[in-house]
């Protein structure tokens, strides 16, 4: 029968869709905040799943009832036919009430989580390490003022140590995201934004600029190395002793030229005021370069 065929294939399409969705969620490779390497990403993942579960009371009835209705009330089907039935107080209460309750719960949850997970709020676990981040076309500069080193496109973080990033951009709007650690914040010229993160699983991850900023936008990713505290200290010492160049005015000016570095660069200094200089420069004179 034609109708039956439509309905069956409709069911099949839906089942396929759900399967695809399930597959896509469960089968994610070990990437992204779904497989977190830090507490922020973990909290965001948990929040994501909790929303999914809380949505079930409103969406499951639809997914269950809709196919039943389509089948039962098909033309020449067995269902009773009441063309003038247009209102029912019970249903009204249900269809307004249920979403209101769910949104109430989810909204409360949203508020708590948003305040709790404010990217500007330091994470527990001691005094956060400061890192200043400058987005250039098409690379990232990381300054470690406490350690006195800087890097381009390589971010070393001690495991389990909270980090506070201060970000700005020396070009256009950019967006800073380390998928495995969660969180995302814009880096904007002439402005400073903040992001608190922590890595609690040692490993090598990828960091991104997710905001399109020209032809080499795709290349503007950086290596994130979450390493044990001792290795981190050893790395800092290594950078200082290895004869890496200082980050002087000339180097900073060179970074302004749009380019994609072949490999990460290391610098043996993190001059005071370099970050503020970029912010100031953008505000008054405009970003140079291009």
């Amino acid at each position: 029968m034609r109708l039956a065929r439509y309905l069956n294939s409709g069911g099949a399409a839906r089942a396929g869709a759900l399967l695809l969705a399930a597959l896509s969620l469960a089968g994610c490779a070990d990437l992204g905040f779904i497989n977190p390497a830090g507490p922020v990403a973990a909290a965001q993942r948990d929040h994501l799943w909790s929303i999914l579960w809380w949505m079930m009371p409103v969406v499951v009835p639809l997914f269950v009832l809709l196919p039943l209705i389509l089948w039962r009330y098909r033309y020449r089907g067995a269902g009773d036919y009441r063309p003038d039935w247009t209102h029912s107080n019970q249903f009204e209460v249900l269809i307004w009430g249920l979403p209101v309750i769910i949104v109430g719960v989810l909204g409360y949850n949203l508020w708590v989580e948003t305040v709790e997970m404010d990217p500007y709020k330091p994470l527990p676990g001691g005094e956060p390490m400061q890192i200043q981040v400058i987005g250039y076309d098409w690379k990232w500069l990381f300054l470690y003022p406490e350690q006195g080193v800087s890097t381009v496109n390589a971010l070393y973080l001690p495991v389990n140590r909270p980090v506070e990033f201060e970000l700005t951009s020396a070009s256009v709007l950019q967006s800073f995201l380390i998928p495995k650690l969660g969180g995302q914040i814009y880096a904007m010229p002439g402005m400073i934004t903040k992001q608190n993160l922590k890595g609690d699983v040692a490993g090598d991850y990828i960091g991104l600029n997710t905001q399109y900023n020209g032809n080499n936008f795709t290349d503007q990713h950086f290596d994130v190395h979450v390493v044990p505290e001792a290795s981190f200290d050893a790395w800092v010492t290594h950078v200082k002793d290895s004869g890496a160049p200082a980050l002087d005015e000339k180097m900073l000016a060179a970074l302004q030229v749009p380019s994609v570095p072949e490999a990460p660069d290391l610098f043996s200094t993190a001059p005071d005021g370099a970050f503020e200089g970029v912010v100031e420069q953008a505000m008054v004179k405009g970003t140079c370069g291009i």
Partner: protein, 692 residues
Amino acid sequence: MSDWYWIFGNLKWNSLVFFHAFESPSASEEIAAGAALMVILGGLWLVWLLTVKGWWRPLWRDWLTSPDHKKIGIMYVVVALVMLARAVAEAVVMRLQQAVAVNDPGFLSADHFGQLFSTHGTIMIFFMAMPFLTGVINYVMPQQIGARDVSFPVMNAVSLALTTAGAVLVMVSLVFGQFETGGWTAYPPYTGIRFSPGEGVDYWIWAVSLSSIGTTLSGINFAVTIYKERAPGMTLMRMPLFTWTTLCTAILMIFAMIPLTAATAMLALDRYAGFHFFTTDKGGDMMNYANLFWLFGHPEVYILILPAFGVFSEVIPVFSGKRLYGYTSLVWATMAIAVLSFTVWLHHFFTMGQSANLNAVFGFATMTIGVPTGVKVYDWMLTMYRGRLRFTTAMLFSVMFLVTFVVGGITGVMLANPTVDFATHNTLFLVAHFHNMLIPGLLFGMIAAMQFWFPKAFGFRLDERWGKISFWCWSIGFYVAFMPLYALGLMGAMRRSFEWYQPEFLPYLVVAAGGALLILCGLIALFVQLWVSVKHRDQLRVPAGDPWDAHSLEWMSAAPAPEWNFAVIPEVHGREAFLEAKRDGTAYLPPERYEDIHLPAHSAMAPLIGVGALALGFGLTWHIWWMVAAGFIGIWAVVIARSFVTDTGHVIPADVVQREHERWLELVRNTPAVDRGVEQQSENLGHAEAVI
């Protein structure tokens, strides 16, 4: 600056896209040149066709200068379909590029890819979705409220002309120079003159400005029409749901397009005159742009979706053989959505570093939109409950919308949470989400509208077989194309990426590309359906005018409807006016007396303004100042000249109306009323047997 600057502005020989394909041949350049060639050949073919068939005069006399809302509506939809074809093709090219670009540059250049995602978004929103829904509203709404036309018929034609000029400008960018690469939102400072010095952003600015001015005028027109032109007895709470959603959309258009116009104007001042609204220096602030743009952008989402909601509220009851469940709830839900849509714009930039409390307020507001939307979904489901469902193509698209839209709603509620948004903003998760809202929530609605009202407009139904083929391609294609994007987004795959470095992404990207191809098949099937239906129109005719046993007033006339819509303005006594009339047996009764009908006269004003607007936009883009002056002065000269025309209407004598109307009534009497079981067969001549 060349010697020819005063004539050609910045336009040069090598602005022609072919020049690059010739000079430095590559796959990317050749695709661009091929697209340009298609635009030119398409144009030439059209000119040839019009000439050979001798259609120039009828085109001008019957269509371009026509103030008839029905014809304007049809022309809007034609623009939308042409632009849809281009934007879908672009999507397919982008998906293919991404699928082959894992640790490989693929076949497109980065710059070309940037233009593709920018034109794809710009076209889909401004030149596909907006004209499509404006066209459907234009065609249906005045008939649905029992009016002869919109309140300002010539202004209606001007809206169409402005929108079309914008669309043509986007098409022209395929041939001359480049489009911008900053996406459909064109965020400065990237789109400022310092970082995007070329003509691309200017194309975007002027195309979008023309379209947004046209849309503002449409909004005013629709709102006034609904407030002032309703048939006697049609109180607000008796208006069909589609008219209600039109009213809300019109209000949103009036309020929401202005911030966009202001934002594009300011961006233009930055670029042309060295102002500092959004530059990185001298106190410019791009955050203002983000606020202005999304102050438009979020209501825009509901401008797009509400008319489709209206379509589903018409299609589902008709094909359920039942009245709409929960009319009052649906009206309130629609109004609630329209109001709430202005309170959520900040959720497009939770990541801009504002305080947590502010993010929470906007996140919460966003989530509350889920309530009225959820209510609507249940209302449609309950409309089907205890009905007798007939699965025509229009109904299938509506049902698939329900299912798919709910999936998008789930991810929408997720994204309303700033915490989740931080992790997924700018990723493919977001891309999947808004396609998941707009493909079912806009496009399925518009396709359903086309299937549903096509017989009204042209007098014959669309072929159901090809319609269903299209339906399955669209539906399955949608899931195959976009479910993998959700997964990719959760894995940290960013949007607008023309190349990848994570081999893990490959299988997902390949599947998504397959889905895009399926969607392309769906689109092709839609065009085949049109062609097949025109070819077999004799078997699909429904001259009596009521092929679906429908409920609202627009069906109470012949198909296609006469120029004056109704011989006598109907008197409305209830919600489903035509259904009531059929039940009372008054639907096909001759009126007591006929009167002369005054209709607006044809006017060349709109097409002339369209040409002027195109000259203005093109001249501004390329700095051809004489063309700018000519376009600007031309437009206002036409407007002023028009104000001196006193003969702005023509009269249809009562006896002509009577003759036409009685011929139709006669036809209905002689047409056998058919049972819904043969609705999709050639026995259906548009006279429905009363079922309920």
